[in-house]
């Protein structure tokens, strides 16, 4: 158990190093002088500034030395310097990470809870109107561009009905008091969460439905029924855990896509997160920030994968005890 955990952790570290190496390669593969690429067009293109960049990144030294230097810096949490803001990339990203995690996390939660509920309840009568509705929802959800759905929600619930705020994470003048602020952020969160979460809601409900149908047809469920367990006991005490496994697998694989979607939804709703920062950095030619965001979001995905693994162990005791792998 401990050994397996350590192995997963080592694997995660290798992946992080690989992402950093990729970043390094990208800087060098991009056409033109890497120093100019890093400086961007926004500022610091004077000869002295370029010289400073060359020195800071060790671009005047042999390739391998540069690579190891860069790797060492990033692993210590130094993602470089933004010449546009004249600030450290790490601190810029750190400010924006929270809102992105809040948005992605609540979309994931929304999709998991509602999707599993819908899927599991549809499994009892898979070919009924409700069950087919889930199938339709999953096909429609796959094709729905999150940024279009977001715009439609803004149009309907924000502009026409005026129910929910349509931009930003909090009101221009935030209310006083912790609780009132939470409610304020919560209201701003509703439409972005739905825009980002609908695709995954569709996916999880379909996965949950299919795996629940599989599980309900298995021998041990028949045994439970034969012992006289009622339908809700069978569904929730016997089948639910096993049916949840594929949903967790799919959810874990989707973290990268979730962050990609968050970029677009953040733009639609003016959400002050990493996606907004990434686009702004592109417009400002602030390459170090953009590359830093790529590293940080990859690390988020890697950490999410570790958490998925942990969730597995909690749901399935066989993995925990090492029986029957």
């Amino acid at each position: 158990m401990l050994l397996a955990g350590l192995r997963r952790l080592a694997n995660a570290v290798v992946l992080i190093v690989a992402v950093v190496l990729l970043n390094f390669l990208l800087i060098h593969l991009a056409p033109g002088d890497p120093a100019v690429v890093l400086a961007g067009e926004a500022g610091g293109t004077s000869p002295e500034a370029l010289e400073a960049i060359r020195h800071a990144y060790g671009l005047d030294r042999p390739f391998m030395v540069q690579l190891l230097n860069y790797l060492g810096q990033v692993l210590q949490g130094d993602l470089g310097h933004s010449y546009y803001f004249d600030a450290s990339v790490t601190s810029l990203i750190w400010q924006r990470l929270g809102p992105t995690l809040l948005l992605s996390g609540s979309a994931m939660l929304f999709a998991l809870v509602l999707g599993t509920t819908l899927g599991v309840s549809a499994a009892r009568r898979p070919n009924g109107a409700y069950g087919s509705g889930i199938t339709v929802l999953s096909v429609v959800g796959f094709a729905m561009p999150a940024f279009w759905l977001g715009s439609l929600l803004v149009l309907l619930f924000g502009l026409r009905l005026g129910i929910f705020p349509t931009a930003g994470m909090e009101s221009v003048i935030p209310p006083t008091g912790f609780f009132a602020q939470m409610v304020d952020v919560g209201q701003h969160l509703v439409l972005p969460t739905i825009s980002l979460g609908l695709v995954y809601l569709a996916l999880y409900s379909r996965t949950a439905k299919a795996s629940m149908i599989d599980v309900l047809g298995s021998d041990y469920i028949r045994t439970a029924r034969a012992k006289g367990a009622g339908p809700s006991t069978v569904t929730f005490k016997h089948a639910f855990r096993n049916a949840l496994m594929p949903v967790v697998t799919v959810a874990g694989l989707q973290t990268g896509a979730l962050l990609s979607g968050a970029v677009l939804v953040e733009i639609v709703f003016n959400w002050p997160g990493l996606g907004r920062l990434a686009l702004d950095s592109i417009l400002r030619r602030d390459t170090p920030v953009l590359l830093g965001i790529l590293v940080v979001s990859s690390v988020v995905v890697i950490v999410a994968n570790l958490l998925t693994d942990l969730a597995y162990r909690l749901i399935d005791p066989r993995i925990r005890t090492g029986v029957a792998r």
Binding site: F142, A143, G256
Partner: protein, 296 residues
């Protein structure tokens, strides 16, 4: 041809080689697939013939800005924020999206099949090394990676296809690997090995054809998601410069949403319907190619 079309599930010994014609006919038989094909055909016709039948330059100014659809002396679907003809934009805006979708899916299918096939057939340390490599690509958020590539290099139709295709293949690799691992142990492959047919030939000529059904399904779905990624990039203003794309139209007019709903909702609906048609075809193919699913 019609009677060889679909072998009975019982005689289909772990997947007889799928014939292209039979796949198409089976797709026509599934209601979902048929609807998807019809929708895609409509979309292709509008994209190919539309600009000829309605020869208005989508970049030219056609009238006052933000004319609603049906307004007097407005183009049929109105104008956008600078006064360009919205219908002309819709008819021309699908070209890049469809092209990038197909090109990116072709690239990612090629990479995924090569890597997954080698890993599944050869096994051992090659398998674990290639799967590590696959895992690495799975942690990169596709859109952000494509944003970086498009920014560092020049954005163009080719670059967009490359940027999406180069990161979209892990799913294909996993599925191909699973299929190759299964088929590798079948008797006819063992027999082929025993009589000394070279491994590469076995993989390409004997194993791959039987592994195709799930690969075809996932490739179709990747066309759809690549189209969504292209639309997303264009929406962000990172599309191929000098071209019209549904995503670009949506992004350009985004801040006019409150006063001109048609400039945002119509291009988005075009993206949605085009991807929906692909997704329906994928579903139909899945039903048609997977006997176990068909029985259910």
């Amino acid at each position: 041809m019609t009677d060889t079309m679909l072998p009975e599930p019982t005689t289909r010994s772990a997947g007889a080689p799928a014939r292209q014609g039979s796949v198409f006919v089976a797709l026509l038989r599934s209601p979902v697939g048929l609807v998807g094909l019809l929708m895609l055909a409509t979309c292709l016709l509008a994209t190919v013939l539309g600009p000829m039948l309605y020869p208005v330059d989508p970049m030219e100014i056609a009238g006052r800005p933000l004319l609603p659809p049906g307004a007097p002396d407005a183009p049929p679907l109105g104008t956008d924020e600078v006064g360009r003809d919205l219908l002309a934009g819709l008819l021309n805006g699908g070209r890049v999206t469809l092209l990038v979708g197909v090109a990116a899916a072709a690239l990612s299918t090629f990479i995924g099949v090569v890597i997954g096939g080698l890993a599944g057939y050869l096994g051992g340390w090659i398998d674990s090394a290639l799967m590590r490599f696959t895992e690495f690509f799975q942690v990169l958020p596709i859109l952000l990676f494509a944003m970086v590539l498009v920014t560092l290099f020049q954005p163009s139709v080719g670059m967009l296809s490359f940027a999406i295709g180069i990161v979209a293949w892990p799913g294909t690799a996993r599925i191909t690997r699973a299929e190759f691992m299964r088929i590798r142990t079948l008797d006819y492959v063992r027999a082929a090995r025993a009589i000394g047919i070279p491994s590469l030939r076995i993989m390409v000529r004997l194993v791959l054809p039987n592994a195709l059904p799930p690969i075809i399904v996932i490739s179709t779905l990747i066309v759809g998601s690549a189209m969504l990624f292209e639309s997303g990039l264009s929406f962000l203003g990172l599309g191929a410069p000098g071209t019209v794309s549904w995503g670009t139209m949506l992004g350009d007019n985004r801040d006019k949403l409150a006063i001109a709903w048609w400039t945002v909702t119509l291009p988005g609906a075009a993206i949605f319907l085009a991807v929906l048609s692909i997704s329906l075809i994928g579903d139909g193919l899945n039903d048609a190619l997977n006997p176990k699913r068909r029985k259910r």
